[in-house]
Amino acid sequence: MPTAASTLPIIDADPFGPRVLADPLPFQHELREAGPVVVLAKYGVYAMGRHAEVQAALTDWQSFESGAGVGLANFRTEAPWRPPSLLLEADPPHHDAPRAVLTTILGPRQLARLREAWEADAAELVDTLLARASGGALEFDAVPDLAGAYPLRVFPDAVGIGPDGRENLLPYGDMAFNAFGPRNALVERDAERVGALSGWVASQCAREALSESGFGAQIWEAADRGDITHEQAPLIVRSLLTAGVDTTVNGIAAFLHAVATHPRAWERLRRQPALIRGSFDEAVRLESPVQSFFRTATRDVEIGGTVIPAGSKAVLFLGAANRDPRRWEDPDVFDVDRDPSGHVGYGFGLHQCVGQHVARAEATAVMGALARRVEAIELAATPRRHLNNTLRSWASLPLRFTVA
C-alpha cells in the first residue's frame, strides 16, 4: 500500500468499473495529464499512462517484476487463482527457456509454412460470408461471424487441440483476462465456471490430446530435446490457449472497426495491400486490445520525482500510452501511413507478446481476403462493447459490406 507523497496525484475514478471499461478514453486522458505516476485511490496502487514511462517500465524487468503477478493480486501475499504462467507471470532466469521455445515455435520461420493455408482459409471464409450478399451488399455482426470465426477456425488447429469443446476457448480467455483486475462483478460472474473451464483447458494441454504436428506437439518435442522440462510443457500449451484467441479476435475486430470508421483508409489498403500488415499494428496501437498489465517493484524505483517503493504494485495502462500525444501525432486517428513502431499494444521488452507474428499473420490473411472482394466497409448499426477488466472488446460490431 503506497503512502502517497503530498505531491503525488490521486485519481478517484475506477479504471475497472463499468463506466471506464465502456469508454476508457476520458480516464486515459485524466491519467496522462495528472502526471507520470499517479495513485489509484480505490485500489491503493501506482499507475502510469504516459508512453515514455510505460515503455520504460515494461522494458526494465530488473526493477519491475512479473513473477508477483501481472494483475492486481500480489502472488507474494495471495494465492494465484491457477498455477502461474511460465511466461507472463515469470521472470528471468525461469522465464528464459519457455520463452525461447515459444519464440522459435511461433516465429516467422514456422509461420511461413502456414501462411498459404491460412490465406486459403481466410478466402474461403470471406467467400462463404459474401455468398449471402444480395444487391451487392450485406450486413452481419463481424464479431461472431468474422473476427471471432477466423481465429477459431485456424488457431486451435494450429495448436493441435481436438474438435470438441472449442466453444470454451473464448470464455476461458475472457475469464483469465478478467482475473488480472480486481474481484469485481466481472470476476464474480465467472466464479461458477472457473473449475469447468480450467479443467477443460488443462485436458487440452496433455500430449495425447494434441495432434502430431501442431504448436502443442512442438512444445512437447522441445521437452523431449531437453529445451524445457516435461512438467513445463502443458503449462506452455496453456499459455497459447489462454492468450492466443481472445486477443486476436479483439485485434481483428479493432482493425475492422478502424476501417469501418475511416473509409479512406480502406480505399488505400485495397489499392496497396502491402500496407495491411503494418496497419494492423496501427489498429492495435489505436485500440490496444490488451489495455493494462501490472508489475511489482523489486526495489525503490524513482520515476519523475516519485519513488515507487519495493514491493508495490504499479499498473501500466498500455491503451493510454498508445494514445499519448507526447509520443503520437493525432493519436486518436487511425492512419495507415503512420509508423506505429514503438507502440506498447503487445507490451514491450522481454515479455512482449510472443504470439505477435501469429496475430499479424491471421489479421493480414483476413483483411487481405476482404480487400480483394470488398469495396467498402461501414458501420451498419452502433457497435456494443463487451466489458472485460483487461481486454478492450466488442460484444457486437454490425458492419455493412459492399461487394467489389
Partner: protein, 342 residues
C-alpha cells in the same frame, strides 16, 4: 535505482514509412557502444566492458549469448557475453589474443582503449541454458566466458552444478578469482599442473538429470562430443559452443542448384564456389549476415521447400533433420531446388 524514460522524441510522420517489423533477433550491427573498461584478466586475455554511448540500457540477453563486435577498421568478431544480465547498462566480454587470429583479437589487445567507440550486433544466442536439476560445465581456456553467466543462473535456479575449467596454466586462465567463492564446485585443470585431462572421465556416463555445456577449442569440443557418444548421452543433453566452424567435409553435390526467393518469386542458380548468401543477395534479397562461417547465426533464413545441405556449426542434428531453416553463408543444397523465405 532511477528509471529514466528512454523513448525517442516523438517522430514526425515519415514520408515513406518503414513497414519492416524487426525482432530483437534481427538487430543489425547498427548499435554503438563505448568502451568503459579494459582490464587484464590473465596472460593474453583482456576483459572489456561496454556501455551505451548515452548511458541507456543495452539490449537484453540470456546466458550463452554472444555479440558481434565491429572495430573501427570494420573487423567483425563474435564474443560471448560474460557479465551480469541484471545490469542492463554494461556488457562484458573476454578477449584472448589469438596468435592464429585474423587480426581481430590482436587489434583489440593493441589498440582498443577506454573511451573508444565500437559497433555492436546481436545479442544472439545459439548456446542456451536449458532447465536441468544438475549441470556439468566444461570450459577450455577463454571458453569459460559463456559459462560464467550460466553458473550464476544455475545458482539462482538452485541447480547442482560443477565446472571443469581446463587451461594450459593458471596464469593463462581468466576469471579464476570470480570462481574462488564456489569452492568445491569448480575443478581447475591446468595442464602444467595435472597433465592432459580425460574428458570422458569428466563428464561420466549419461545421466537423465544432467546437462553438459562445453565451450572451448575445437579439440576439446570434439573430445567432449566423442565421450558423450561413447557414453550414450542423449541428443540435447550435451551442448557445445564453437569459436570456429566445425569441419564439414565436401558439399553434398558438386552441381549447381536453383534457389527460389519466395517473396519476390525470383530464381537464382548457385554455382559451386558461390555461397547461397551471395547468390540471394545478388538477386536483391536483404539477408543480414555476420561471421560467414556458420557459427554466429545471423543469416538464418526459413526453408519452405527442398533439402538443405547443412554445413553450419549451430543446428543440432534434430534441427538439421527438420529442414525448416538454414544458414546460407555456408549451407548449400542436397536437392536441385531450394525455396527460401526471402
Amino acid at each position: 535505482m532511477t528509471l529514466t524514460a528512454e523513448a525517442a522524441p516523438r517522430p514526425k510522420r515519415a514520408a515513406k514509412p518503414s513497414r519492416t517489423a524487426r525482432t530483437t533477433d534481427q538487430r543489425a550491427a547498427d548499435q554503438h557502444a563505448v568502451v568503459t573498461a579494459v582490464e587484464r584478466a590473465a596472460d593474453g586475455v583482456v576483459a572489456i566492458t561496454l556501455a551505451h554511448p548515452e548511458g541507456r540500457r543495452l539490449p537484453d540477453w540470456t546466458p550463452g549469448a554472444h555479440i558481434d563486435l565491429v572495430l573501427a577498421d570494420g573487423t567483425m568478431r563474435q564474443y560471448s557475453l560474460c557479465g551480469d544480465r541484471w545490469d542492463a547498462h554494461a556488457y562484458r566480454i573476454g578477449v584472448l589474443r589469438d596468435p592464429a587470429s585474423r587480426g581481430g583479437s590482436a587489434t583489440i589487445h593493441d589498440t582498443l582503449r577506454v573511451g573508444d567507440t565500437v559497433r555492436l550486433g546481436g545479442p544472439r544466442n545459439t548456446f542456451r541454458l536449458v532447465p536441468s536439476p544438475r549441470y556439468v560445465f566444461v570450459a577450455g581456456g577463454i571458453g569459460v566466458t559463456p559459462l560464467l553467466p550460466m553458473i550464476r543462473q544455475a545458482e539462482l535456479l538452485g541447480a547442482d552444478w560443477h565446472l571443469f575449467y581446463l587451461g594450459r596454466s593458471r596464469s593463462t586462465m581468466a576469471f579464476l578469482d570470480e570462481l574462488v567463492p564456489h569452492g568445491q564446485r569448480v575443478t581447475v585443470l591446468a595442464k602444467d599442473e595435472v597433465g592432459p585431462s580425460d574428458l570422458g572421465a569428466l563428464i561420466g556416463p549419461a545421466r537423465a538429470d544432467t546437462k553438459v555445456y562445453a565451450c572451448g577449442p575445437q579439440r576439446l569440443l570434439d573430445g567432449v562430443l566423442a565421450a558423450a557418444e561413447a557414453d550414450r548421452w542423449p541428443e540435447g543433453w550435451v551442448r557445445v559452443e564453437r569459436f570456429a566452424a566445425a569441419e564439414q567435409g565436401e558439399p553434398a553435390r558438386a552441381q549447381p542448384f536453383d534457389v527460389v526467393l519466395a517473396r519476390s518469386g525470383a530464381t537464382v542458380t548457385v554455382a559451386p564456389g558461390t555461397t547461397v548468401l551471395d547468390a540471394v543477395q545478388a538477386a536483391g534479397a536483404a539477408v543480414l549476415s555476420s561471421c560467414r562461417e556458420g557459427t554466429c547465426g545471423t543469416c538464418e533464413v526459413a526453408v519452405l521447400d527442398g533439402a538443405p545441405d547443412h554445413r553450419d556449426s549451430i543446428l543440432s542434428p534434430a534441427e538439421r533433420r527438420a529442414n525448416t531453416c538454414m544458414f546460407p553463408c555456408v549451407s548449400r543444397s542436397c536437392s536441385d531446388r531450394l525455396v527460401l523465405d526471402v
